[in-house]
Amino acid sequence: MIFHDCIRLKWPWIAIGLSAAIIIASVACRQKNASGKLAGNISYNFHIRPILSDKCFVCHGPDANKRAAHLRLDIQEAAYAPLTETKGAFAIVPGKPEESEMYKRIISTDPTYQMPAPESHLGLLSEQEIARIKKWIQQGAKYERHWAFNKPGKPALPAIEEKEWVKNELDYFIVQSMEEKGLTPNEEADKERLLKRLSFDLTGLPPGIPLMDEYLNDASSNAYEKMVDKLLASPTYGEKMALHWLDVARYADSYGYQDDNIRSQWAWRDWVIHAFNKNLSYDQFLTWQIAGDMLPNATKEQMLATGFFRNHKYTEEGGVIPEEYRVEYILDKTKTYGKGIMGITIECAQCHDHKYDPFSQKDYYQLYAFFNTSKELGFEGDISQSKLAKKPVLEISKEEKEQLLNFINHKDTGRLYVSVMGELDTLRKTYVLKRGAYDAPSDLVSASAVKAIMPYDTTTLPRNRLGLAQWTVSRNNPLTARVFVNQLWQEFFGKGIVKTTGDFGMQGELPSHPELLDWLAVDFMEHNWDIKRLVKQMVMSATYRQSTKVTKEKLGIDPENIYLSHGPRNRLPAEFVRDMVLASSGLLIKTIGGPSVKPYQPKGLWEAATSGRGVLATYQQDHGEQLYRRGMYTFIKLTVPPPSMLMFDASNRDQCEVKRLKTNTPLQALIMMNDPTTLEASRVLAQELEAQQMAVKEKIATAFRRIICRKATDKEMQVLQSYYDEQLTLFKNKQLDAAKTLKVGEYPLNEKLDANASAALMKTVNTIYNLEEAIFRS
């Protein structure tokens, strides 16, 4: 924890004047008597509020109902005011820590007097935290507005030494903070690894041998940029970009809850892929999803986009109280908007004023009011009356699918139904719900966005979702661009500039590179919210192109690679692990979109968990091409999500998610070794190579290159060749059974080929799939 604090200390623009000694390394920090070393200016936003927010605001913060001793420490005037319960005393006396009651209490050892009070279980402040607070009070105890709620400005590029290395503006900011840490950037990654990284990051697929050759043989100075442009133009780019948005939108193929029957929201998913591919600007992308149905002369495509707010779960459990669930659905929409688009934890204000951020419970219900006028019902009937979409429903005809909405992949000739947004004719009133309970309405409120972020100007904005959309994508909104830029940064660099992707509030992490975040956000807006341009900017940077090699020294100074002094090695997301296997083996069917599919899955999973009702009570596995579709098209039944996806940390799509965990478990090893998908792919690739006239060595080398996306080293070839030889002998001697080995998956077996050789090569290919590097892009 101390370690974290140290890291936090050195934001470039505040670190000015901070003693370099503090900044350097964790070990040094631990040993230091911090109070003696704190020089320069203490910033409220970056040094003090994280402490107050974490340790004080629960009882002395924005929540009026839980406020202790009438004391509020999150607002300057209140903190300076005379204390009501201790006559003649003040919580904070600017310039005088010894006279400040708050300071006296945080240094006290008397349990009846000290703060935080022992019964809060918040723990006492560390010496360093105390020292900072002391210094801050000495310097006048000045408060500042929370950084994320200030409109970002576009900072000038910082002056740096290492000008040779930088490729674009982003690098200036990165290099500057590296230089302050005494770190130097890595050289550019080798071409093969760089292309693999780029290809997975832009398309979620391996580059394939032709593209690898093209790049390796292209000696021109803009060879890399050519690859970037090529991949950005590929339709698989839209699939890659959509995946994150499907997590945000909690997209699934079933209704969730009790009986968990099938629904048909996939046409909305096809639209998301289409929107990224045609590079719909982010402001339009959001506007359509928030209020596409309310735009003047709204097109069906714009209405379809509003499916975003209808992807959450719907109950079909008999006997529910409809209003309880209708309210639940509006709460979910509000939360998704807050977390996914605004990067705030607004849902904390559902039952009471927010404990840390300046969001009152009234603010919450004013935001909720935008969604509360939706036509939808809390309950349309139990599973016996289940339909593929719930009111309001967008009907899409065959003709529309063939023309305006031709991005929808639907072979059926019938009509298609999607749940979308639609307003009631007579608007429903919204009340603050006491304790967040659906049956406890209190004060009447009208729709408005969170004023602490940006006032909602009702002279220009209507009080409906269209107004909310306009407010959201206003150039003055301090959060929208920052939050999205940060989500994309996370996609390419492994973690956000603000690590708490879903929380830009006071309890969130501070940005590691605040000026870079602001520069990117403003530049993004200045360039018409152009997503492809932003993506290209990121992947063209020298920062992105660095080798991932890491030295002990770098690990020592910056073990989490916050300063990006080397490229991030990231494990592929769950869906792309599958895609990698299918693509490299040649099995992948590249069709985009359409109804979700049911590939191989361990037997009995749906059956064991079902109520027995509905069409999803049993798992009806698909056959043929449907077995080989990309991971993002695997059917997501909410109550039993695809197990191999969950084991690789995919979202269970129960709620809006903006960040996936990245774990490394034995269950992942078991999947890579025993999942029939990987075994079948190993066989198919082995047989494809076996059918060709080439030496064994060349077969192994080709498989390696297709899977790992680089040429194998001599040592690697040696190890794999020896494994192959050993296996071949075992098969020939009947110590292992070739026929049994090859019998996996539904893809036809080529019986003309020698079974022993096929099996030995299959085992070798399977070993390559199990290399750590196979599921990493480095």
């Binding site: 459990e317 890491v550 774990t663």
Partner: protein
């Protein structure tokens, strides 16, 4: 070099997870290998503030909500008033589910089953549960559990995660996080499913989710199929020796990659493959029932040899728990008797009675009951009035959240009967136990303070007990 990597890796884990309670509480499937020294010690450092009474939990969840009025909460008044309306003074306008809120009448339905008095506590137990009655002196029967939800999905989710909605960690995930695993070849949190013939309600992966905790704390579902744990079995053509050959080559190749890139994730991956290999031996040993003696088969009943039955799951639960699995969660579906309750509940009780009691007896004879907490119960209770048509000997019962019965045994609980409901069996007369109180008490038995087992996620400190819950001291021996 490998050790160097692991050290860094552990540090990265610790900083990555932003633990709320120092560096404790990181245990389970994956972690023990990453700590140098004694894993158990490293995991437990600084956590429990008092000596745990129980080390492990086996939770026999009766999914769908068994009728307390036909099993444990005997109400002669209902038999006397059979067919008469529930007085409004008792119902007090409380909310009902949509299934009966439209009924014009709420005719009381007395149980058709006989009750007897058993044990020191003179507990009333229905004739449907003779085996349970035989172990009554080990049971702590709580008649006054109550919950806030009136529908299955939110009620189940509330019981398992402490919140009706949201993607919060399940109780087993919390304990895996808080206490880690005692066996480094098995997951800390295992889930076993079975089904009765009664009206069923589904179970869902989110009930054993890790929520925002690391996914190593997710419940690992054991299935009765050929693969007891998903993807565990090698293909038929690969035996142990052959798997070893592959792993040896893999280790060489991965180690080279580690030497070149220095990423600790690479060495961690090597370790995970080794752990997977060990699980491939450990899990089949556990799930193999063929070596169980005749006396055990007799105790649990012949069903315990039929994989996927409740009885088989109870026996497997004992074996897993005995091997150090922290939390074994069973679900038995089929208790949702909205109609024809007398018929349905007979079958359900036949499924679970003998094996539940056998589990108590078996743990006791192995000297494990003292340190193993066994819990039996559903997500809410059932109404004292009839849903649908009432006849002399047939009725259905709707969901009832205001009082229901759960029993616990072993693990430091005090045997006896706790709490009283009113004579209608509708409201609680004394000693209510809220779901949060129940969770707080379970954590206390495990040596954990429910207010201190926290995880900070998106700026908020989360607990299994949300922001409430009191330890019910009278339940603790």
């Amino acid at each position: 070099m490998l050790e160097h990597g692991l050290t860094y890796n552990r540090r990265r884990f610790l900083s990555r997870l932003s633990l709320g309670i120092g560096s404790a509480a990181l245990g389970s499937l994956l972690i023990p290998d990453l700590f140098s020294g004694d894993p158990a010690e490293a995991v437990l450092a600084g956590l429990p503030k008092f000596a745990p009474k129980a080390k492990r939990v086996i939770y026999l969840f009766q999914n769908g909500a068994p009728s307390q009025l036909d099993l444990f909460d005997y109400k002669p008044l209902l038999q006397k008033m059979h067919g008469q309306d529930l007085p409004a003074s008792i119902r007090m306008g409380q909310r009902l589910t949509g299934m009966t809120s439209g009924q014009e009448h709420f005719p009381l339905a007395g149980s058709v089953f006989k009750f007897g008095e058993y044990g020191h506590a003179r507990a009333q137990i229905s004739e449907l549960l003779p085996h349970t009655a035989s172990v009554v002196d080990d049971l702590c029967i709580i008649k006054t559990l109550y919950t806030e939800a009136i529908n299955h999905d939110p009620a189940l989710t509330f019981f398992q995660t402490g919140a009706q909605v949201g993607n919060r960690p399940s109780m087993g995930a919390w304990l895996s996080y808080g206490l880690g695993s005692e066996n480094k070849n098995l997951p800390a949190f295992c889930v076993l499913l079975s089904k009765g013939k009664g009206n069923g309600q589904g179970v869902y992966g989110k009930l054993w989710t890790n929520g925002f905790l690391d996914s190593m704390h997710q419940g690992v579902q054991f299935s009765s199929g050929e693969n007891p744990v998903l993807y565990l079995n090698n293909p038929e053509s690969i035996d142990k020796a052959d798997r070893r050959r592959m792993l040896d080559k893999l280790a060489v190749l991965n180690e080279d990659s580690y030497q070149e890139f220095g990423d600790p994730e690479i060495s961690a991956r090597i370790q995970q493959y080794e752990m997977a290999f060990r699980m491939q031996t450990a899990v089949p040993e556990i799930t193999d029932m063929s070596k169980e003696p005749e006396s055990i088969i007799k105790l649990y009943g012949p069903d315990c040899l039929v994989p996927g039955t409740y009885a088989a799951n109870c026996l497997l639960a004992r074996k897993l728990s005995e091997s150090g699995v922290r939390f074994v969660q069973l679900y038995h579906q089929g208790w949702d008797a909205h109609d024809n309750l007398p018929g349905q509940i007979k079958g359900q009780c036949k499924d679970v009675d003998q094996a539940s009691a056998a589990l108590i007896t078996d743990l006791k004879q192995r000297g494990l009951l003292d340190e193993t907490l066994v819990i039996w119960g559903g997500e809410f209770g059932r109404t004292n009035y009839c849903q649908g048509t009432l006849t002399k000997d047939n009725y259905g019962r709707d969901h009832h959240p205001r009082c229901f019965t759960v029993w616990m045994a072993g693990g430091g609980v005090k045997p006896g009967v706790y709490g009283e409901t009113d004579e209608f069996g509708y409201n609680i007369a004394s000693n209510p136990v809220h779901v949060h109180d129940f969770h707080a008490t379970i954590l206390n038995l495990m040596g954990l303070d429910h207010e201190q087992l926290v995880f900070k996620h998106l700026g908020r400190r989360y607990r299994l007990t949300d922001v409430a819950g009191n330890v019910v001291k009278d339940l603790i021996a």
